[in-house]
């Protein structure tokens, strides 16, 4: 019987309202107990003195590029990057080739993950066939195959009627609808946030309102349909306000933010460096402030990375020719500590919540807690260990990170999935 005792760490489990120095006892991939001075008898022991011991972190928004784009990332390489970032579960978006819009693709991803991934992989299915925005995908069978939510991510459903039907289906099936909010007509051709910086650099803009109009539409549709609706990578101040407003009206409208939208504004971009090019784009400083405030006041419920690997051949081009997206898994904890915890905006417990019970609740996963009987996924991290991110040593197959060479205070130390230490620093 495989046993692991994680000793003497500060155990923070927001879902069980636990915060204090304790041991975590794991047996056969399941949490057996959390308590003081548990006996080590026969167990492997991990000394977590001075470290935080938390439920396994869940990244509810990643791109693993498999099937179809294995030159950029695979389920295996992405899962190793996840483990090195302190994540025990990741939810890959369906923009693969073929698109994950049916149970066969969902099952393929889950089977690939079972054989090659070192963390849990919970696929997100497409809303519409081919993510073309017209005909609903096989949502029910994808759910039965293991999909945990539906989204057309980077190709948001533009037709409000289709979105309404999708929400109705999702409500009937008890699955969350996630939307990447971007009115594609308003954002067409844009390469960065529309503002003084885009005008200065002569680059075409993606206006904040392209996000806002779709958030507004979707909140209204969520009210009409009663669907569980989630706003992906929220980045604009008006969108944060609207989500806050929806919550105040009692609607179930959670939202996630990415670490890079907490840390960087458009003016922090290295000019014409595609490692700063993603969607939604790095917004203005007042948008960054609004997203940070949204985390503090509860408008935002989760942090997700939108890990989007692209190979150098695609990112080393003229800015306007480069694809959107940056790596995020390995730097998420470091960036989040720097932006949220070290400046005292939130406590460490709230940070853990944003990575664990927050996303688990949004997706309805039986994860994100160290309660007895829960799957033994554990993230062990430090709040003070100094380290430098070297993207050339990344487990990802791609190298597109704006945080290369950045010095961090605090970060992941070990990642435990189903009772196995799958990565340690």
């Amino acid at each position: 019987m495989a046993q692991l005792l994680i000793k003497n760490g500060r155990v923070i489990d927001p879902a069980s309202h636990h915060d204090g120095v304790a041991d975590v006892w794991i047996e056969d991939g399941v949490i057996k107990g959390v308590g003081v001075s548990l006996p080590a008898a026969g167990s492997d022991v991990f000394d977590a003195t001075g470290l935080i011991v938390a439920p396994g972190f869940i990244d509810m928004h990643v791109h693993l590029r498999e099937p179809g784009f294995e030159h950029a990332e695979t389920i295996e390489s992405g899962s190793r990057a996840a483990a090195a970032g302190g994540f025990t579960s990741v939810c890959p978006m369906p923009n693969t080739k073929p698109v994950n819009d049916n149970a066969t693709v969902t099952s393929y991803m889950i089977e690939k993950a079972r054989r090659h991934a070192v963390v849990n992989v919970f696929p997100i299915g497409a809303i519409t066939k081919g993510s073309a925005g017209e005909e609903l995908a096989a949502i029910g069978s994808m759910k039965n195959a293991g999909a945990v939510a539906i989204s057309d991510d980077g190709r948001p459903v533009m037709n409000a009627r289709v979105m309404r039907r999708a929400m109705e289906s999702a409500r009937s099936l008890g699955i969350t609808v996630i939307n990447h909010c971007e009115d594609l007509h308003l954002s067409a051709g844009g390469d960065m946030h529309e503002g003084a910086e885009s005008v200065r650099l002569g680059l075409r803009g993606i206006p904040g309102c392209s996000e806002d109009v779709m958030v507004a539409r979707d909140i209204l549709l969520a009210e009409v349909t009663g669907a569980r609706y989630h706003v992906a990578h929220i980045s604009s101040r008006h969108s944060v306000e609207m989500v806050q407003f929806a919550k105040s009206k009692g609607l179930a409208v959670p939202a996630e933010a990415t670490p890079h939208h907490l840390a960087l504004a458009d003016r922090d971009m290295k000019p014409y460096d595609s490692n700063y090019k993603m969607k939604p784009p790095l917004r203005g400083s007042c948008d960054v402030t609004a997203v940070l405030d949204g985390i503090v006041n509860g408008a935002i419920d989760a942090i997700a990375t939108d890990h989007a690997p692209h190979p150098g051949s695609e990112k080393m081009q003229e800015f306007e020719s480069c694809p959107f997206g940056i790596l995020g898994l390995e730097t998420a904890i470091g960036v989040s500590l720097e932006q949220l915890v070290h400046p005292g905006k939130i406590g460490i417990g709230r940070l853990v919540e944003l990575f664990t019970s927050g996303p688990a609740r949004i997706l309805g996963l039986d994860r994100g807690t160290l309660a007895v009987g829960a799957p033994a996924d554990v993230t062990i991290f430090s709040t003070d260990r100094e380290w430098t991110y070297d993207v050339n040593k990344s487990f990802s197959k791609s190298r597109n990170s704006p945080f290369d060479g950045k010095r961090f205070k605090g970060g992941p130390v070990a990642t435990v999935v189903a009772g196995e230490v799958v990565w340690r620093v």
């Binding site: 529309e194 003084a196 005008v199 200065r200 650099l201 680059l203 080393m316 003229e318 800015f319 020719s321």
Partner: protein, 312 residues
């Protein structure tokens, strides 16, 4: 790192003044041709144009030859770019042939800035997308100064498709550094509000009369149909509201000049009468293009220190 010329924004007022002063030295005497120098003998420059150009390319070529440099010109369609080579590889290949500078025009904003990170050889930006066209702003400033004016306090109206204009941006940066008052004018769809935050001394208006009133300089811009991705004003409506006509000149200062970076579209953004009027200095701009580019090439390629006007 190589010291090329990527844009006006990063230059100091002193550096700009030094180039303008040197350009004056290179200007031909009344009625004569440009003198030939051997200041850049044994130097080689590559003209790499990924977008069509008549005046800028010819102007750079003549400038290089007048300084005694060898110059090679390449157009994108004739290069390996059409065979699918990446921009970085194309530039690295050319760099391996050891030119002393690469003059480059590209349709993507920031393309030369992106490339300069990977290249030791200095790049001179001959226009990047909708970002900057530094030698155009320098020749415009030289032309304004030739009329005996000072840039400080001058009222300059820049009218037309500001959003897509690299000429406008470079001129705004240059004029702002010298304390000019810059009025940017065009239809709202071509005049982003954020323009007023990119430099000091900038105001915006959608009303052409307001822009021209008391102007010392009227700078018209071409409507860049190739960069606009959606239909805006029809040609006739555009001319009616934003085309320069002789009557407009009555609103400006009596000695105001009319400029245009070319190529001009008569009847679209400027009437023939205005383009050919006594006020027009459009051909002076073209002529100054050569002397300004001689000054820029010398600065980039001579290897001399250029710490201000006295450096020459």
């Amino acid at each position: 790192m190589a010291q090329g010329l990527l844009g006006i924004e990063a230059l100091s007022r002193e550096e700009i003044q030094a180039i303008l002063d040197r350009a004056k030295y290179f200007q031909p005497r009344e009625g004569q041709s440009f003198r030939k120098y051997d200041l850049l003998r044994d130097r080689m420059v590559v003209n790499l144009f990924f977008e069509t150009s008549t005046r800028t390319r010819t102007s750079f070529e003549i400038a290089a030859k007048r300084l005694g440099a060898d110059s090679v010109s390449i157009t994108a369609s004739a290069s390996s770019v059409s065979k699918g080579e990446s921009l970085v590889d194309t530039l690295n290949t050319l760099a391996a042939m050891r030119p002393n500078a690469i003059i480059m025009r590209h349709a993507a904003s920031g393309a030369p800035h992106f490339l300069q990170r990977y290249l030791e050889i200095p790049i001179i930006n001959a226009g990047d997308g909708t970002h900057e066209h530094p030698t155009q702003a320098l020749l415009d400033a030289r032309t304004i100064l030739d009329r005996g004016a000072k840039l400080e306090g001058l009222r300059v109206a820049i009218i037309g498709d500001i959003a897509h204009s690299r000429v406008a941006r470079s001129n705004v940066y240059l004029l702002s550094k010298f304390g000019a008052n810059i009025v940017l004018c065009g239809p709202a769809s071509l005049l982003p509000e954020a323009l007023k935050n990119i430099a000091s001394g900038v105001t915006l208006t959608t009303n052409m009369d307001e822009a021209i009133r008391d102007a010392d300089v009227i700078m018209m811009l071409r409507v860049q149909l190739e960069r606009q991705h959606e239909p805006g004003f029809s040609a006739s409506e555009y001319f009616q509201f934003y085309g320069l006509q002789l009557e407009h000149l009555k609103l400006a200062r009596p000695d105001a000049i009319v400029m245009h970076p070319g190529p001009i579209n008569r009847g679209r953004e400027i009437s023939s009468e205005a383009a050919d009027s006594q006020r027009s200095v459009i051909l002076n701009q073209v002529e100054n293009g050569i002397s300004v580019r001689m000054a820029v090439l010398e600065r980039v390629m001579s290897g001399k220190k250029t710490d201000g006007a006295t450096a020459y």
